[in-house]
Amino acid sequence: MKIAKLLIPGRFENAFAYMGRLITVTEDRAMQIYNLESIANFIETKYSVTLPTPTYMFSRNDWFSSPQFKTLMQNEAIAKDLYAAFDRFPQPFLDWTEISHLDSKISRPELQKPLAINDTAILDMSVYNNRIYIGTTDSLLHLDVEIPQGATAKVQEPQKRLEVGCVNIAVKYGAANASCGSDGLFTLINDFSWRPEVVRRTEHIESGSLRTGWLDYGFVNYPALNEPYLFKFQSEKARQNSNLERESRVLTEVNLDAESFTDYLPGNVKESDFVDNTQYSYNSNNSFFVRTNAGKFYSYKIKKSRDASTSILPNSIPEKSISRIVSVNPTKVGPVIETSNRIVILSNETGQLEVLHDGRAIAIKTFPQSKRFQHLVAITIDEGVLLVSLFDEAAFTTPNGANGFSNNSHQYADLRF
C-alpha cells in the first residue's frame, strides 16, 4: 500500500475534507478552511519529482477510479513510474510549514473565522450539503457554508439545534442522526426541505446512542459499543434543487420498532451472547465488523436481497487479533481502525493491517460519501491535522482487483466467541 502523509500543523479539534477544502475547528474555537487543491498544486511545484502524487492523493482521489487511470495502470512501465513517484513523496510525512512559508498567500488558511461556541469540548463534526454540523459536550450546532469554485469560502454563524451533548453525527438521505449518549438518538428529518410537503423536524428516536451507521434502507443505532439495533425508515424521492449531495431519496419517517442487528448474523448468535462477548461492533453500508472481548476481529458483508431481506455473510478477510477498538472509519481502500494506542488500515485487497499512526487521535474522519476524498483519512493529533492518503496497488496488480485474496473461500462460518 502506498501511503502519503501531509501534516498541517496547529492546535485543532476536528477536521473534515469537503468540496476540495479541509474544514477545521481549532482549539481556540475558530474555523479554518484550507484549499486542498491549491496545497496539492503547490507541493507539486516544490517537489516536482512526486508528480502527480500530491494531486491524486490530497485533492482528486476520484481519479484513481477513472477508466483512464485503470487503462494507464495496465501498462507495466507507466505503473512502475507512478509507484516510483509515490515512493518519492517525503516520508514519514510532509510538514506543510516546511514549504508553505515560501508563499505568504498559501501559507494562510483560505478562511479564518472565530466561532461563537463556548461549549466545553467539541466531540464530532460532519459536513453535508454545505452545512457543517458540530457536536459538543453541551449541544448540537450547525453552520451553513458556501464553497464557491475559484472564490473564498464563507461561513454563517452557528445555530443551535439541540440543547444536549452530541457525541456523534451521521448524515445521509437529507437527514442527520445526532447521537447524544444517555440523552438518546435524535434524527433531524428533511433538514434541507428536499421534500417541501414533509415537515422538517427533529425526532427523538431512542433513549441511548453513541453512534449510528447508515444502511441503504435504515440505520444501525449503537446505544453501547457492542449493541447494534437496526431501525428501518421510509423515504421519498428527493427534489434535486439545492441537493449538492446528489441524494436520490429523502428520509421521511423512522420506524421506531428496532430489531437487534445480531439477528441477521450467521450461526444463530443470540443477542445476549453477542453483547456479553463483544467489545466493539460497527457497520458501514455494506460491511459489519466485530471485535470480541477475547481480541478477535471479524469482518462481514451486509447483503440486501431483492425481497428487501437482509443477511450478514462472512467476509473473505480471515479473523485477526487486534487490541481494543476505539473507532472504525470506512475508506475505499479498507476500514481505518483506531485502537487504544495506534491507528491502522485493514486492506480490502490483501486483508493485511498496516499502521497509519502510532499514538492516540483527537479525532479521525473518513469520507466514504465524498466524490474526491474516498481514499483520505483526516487524523487530528496534538501536532495538527495529519492527512493520510491511501493507494492500494494490490488493486491493480492482479486481475479481479485482488492478489488472489478475494477469491479465498470463506475462512470461517460464523462468530466464534
Binding site: T120, L123, D124, G208
Partner: protein, 142 residues
C-alpha cells in the same frame, strides 16, 4: 505499608491519610457473580488500594458534592485495569460513612456508569488525561 486484613469478603485496608477504609472485594477478583467486573491479575490488591488512595488524595470525584463517588485511571488510560479491557475504575462511596469503600473496573459498555463531565474536565485540566482520552471518554461512556 498498609498490607490489609483478610476477611470473608476480601482484603480490608485500614484508614488512609483521609481516614477512609477500603476493601478489595473477592467477587471483583474471581468470577463468582455475573455482572461483576474483574480486576486484571497484574493489578494487585495493594495496587488497587493505592489507586483508590490516589483518587482520594486528588479528589477524583464525579462532582463536588459530599456524596460523590470516585474514579481512577492509570497512565492516561494506557494501562488496562479490568479483564475485559476496562481502563477506568470506579470507587463507590459507602452508604454509611465508617464502612469501607470498594472499587471495580468499568468498561465503556456498562451503561449508566460514567465519570461525567465534571471529573473528565478536572482530569483534562490537571493533565491526568490528554485531549484524545478526554474525547474518548465522552464518546464511549454514557
Amino acid at each position: 505499608m498498609n498490607s490489609g486484613q483478610a476477611n470473608s469478603d476480601g482484603i480490608l485496608y485500614s484508614p488512609n491519610k483521609s481516614g477512609k477504609t477500603y476493601i478489595s472485594l473477592n467477587y471483583h477478583r474471581s468470577k463468582t457473580k455475573k455482572d461483576k467486573t474483574l480486576w486484571m491479575n497484574n493489578i494487585s490488591r495493594i495496587q488497587e488500594y493505592e489507586l483508590f488512595c490516589t483518587s482520594d488524595d486528588n479528589i477524583w470525584a464525579t462532582n463536588n458534592g459530599p456524596t460523590a463517588d470516585y474514579w481512577g485511571i492509570l497512565n492516561k488510560g494506557d494501562t488496562e485495569l479490568g479483564t475485559e479491557g476496562e481502563w477506568l475504575c470506579k470507587f463507590e462511596r459507602p452508604i454509611n460513612d465508617p464502612d469501607p469503600w470498594h472499587g471495580y473496573p468499568v468498561g465503556e459498555n456498562t451503561k449508566g456508569i460514567t465519570p461525567g463531565k465534571y471529573l473528565v474536565e478536572f482530569w483534562f485540566q490537571t493533565g491526568v488525561i490528554d485531549k484524545a482520552v478526554q474525547k474518548r471518554i465522552y464518546r464511549s461512556y454514557r
